[in-house]
Amino acid sequence: MFNKKTTATVDYSKGHVAYLKAVKKHKLMVKLCQVGFLILFILLWEIAATNKWIDAFFTSKPSSIVRLIVNLSRDGSIFKHTAISVFEALMGFAIGTVLGTFLAILLWWSDFFAKVFDPYLVVLNALPKIALGPIIIIWAGAGMSGIIVTALTISLVVTILSTYSGFKEVDEEKIKMLKTFGASKLQILQKVIFPASIPTMINTMKINIGMTWVGVIVGEFLVSKAGLGYLIVYGGQVFRLDIVMAGVIILAIATALMYQLIVFLENRFLKWRQ
């Protein structure tokens, strides 16, 4: 890391320096345009709504959304709703990942078990899990636990299937190599299957963040007590589009942050990927 920076300025040829500059400039342009597009969009929205080109009753407008968020944060309710949803998402995500990985290990451990459950998993995977929402809410309770179970159900089957197929992809010869040292099944899991599958597992996690949030929002729609999903549904019912929009925007920020957290962990722990 250290070396890269110093040598970059020290002994690269003129042509290469120019190349590096051009790449940097290009990157900067992309960033600027990304931000510029967002600002332009918000401005246009605000102007269009103020001049009544569009009906603010249906579209709301940025300034009233900001005002609403400020008001809601003054009485703390926005934080409460966000915290509840984030907590539910994190719990659903964590339990879904741990439980899914554990079940994938069971399938890997016993080929017989894997074959027996294969058709069930395929059907469950194809089923839109949201349809199970009402059942889960009734079984697990119309509260936070019901929402968390809904969230983890949506990601669980995908976690099991993709983690298991990641396990199966590990080179048989590598396993054979460990067996020549006298490795037990647990050691094979620990020394090669698991570490080799970490990239697959991280990719699964990235997909699952989105899925978990779908579960949380659907759960909150159904339970309708608190959280961002509740805020959105409530706003829709009373035709307050600013509430709906505020909910959606905060949701977008929360999911983006959770995704970034995974990316951060990936960069931190997968240094051998270079």
Binding site: K176, L178, T180, F181, A183, Q187, K191, P195, A196, Q274
Partner: protein, 259 residues
Amino acid sequence: MLTEKFVEIKNISMNYHTLDGETEALDHLSFDVNKGEIMAIVGPSGCGKSTILSIISGLLKPTSGEVLIHRKVVEGTNKSVGYMFQSDHLFRWRSILENVLIGLEIQKKLNEENIHRVHKLLDTYGLKEFKNHYPNQLSGGMRQRVALIRTLAIEPELLLLDEPFSALDYQSRLAVSDDIAEIIRKEKKTAIMVTHDIAEAISMSNRVIVLSNRPATIKNIHDIQLTCEGEANPIKCREAPEFRHYFNRIWKELDVYVQ
């Protein structure tokens, strides 16, 4: 050299069963390997060479017959046998040192003495500066040397090498086969090496077994006596006058069976 029988292969046969049918891979093979010798096995591809090594290592149970190492029947994997594959199978998430220690880790023998010995092996065989590197930073030849040291780390008495150089380009292949033959001799190991390269077999080993097409039977066993002066390294030995003679004979034996 002492001619003490170290490995005895007694009348082994191997049939594979799959849903498509039965494959006869080995047909009543018998041979011995003496202590301290390098034995090469050559044969047409698919004739059952890897199967022989798998049986000797205890990964596979023969359909009939038995293998004795130190006069003890092989049952399951054995800590005195080290196996080296065509591909190095280094773990990309482990540093070179961590890769080399994996055998000891699995056998729960990670003590100070053993770690010290592994460090010395890496130092001796030109990997001193690469201990904390990752496999993708090393050349193919170096990686293969790391794989050998990983095998040597558990102090096996018998080494099984399955086409250990075939993943390398010609130049590194010559250099690495030279290195590895030297390491095996220096560490006083007994080795059985499968290869499809006749020149490699003759230059590296004491005896060469020629196998027939599948199901493998022993076609011939050649005692290799090369007069290479001074340092008897495999590259030099290729210039010995007898080399060509052995080469032609083995080549003919293999060729007859290709038809």
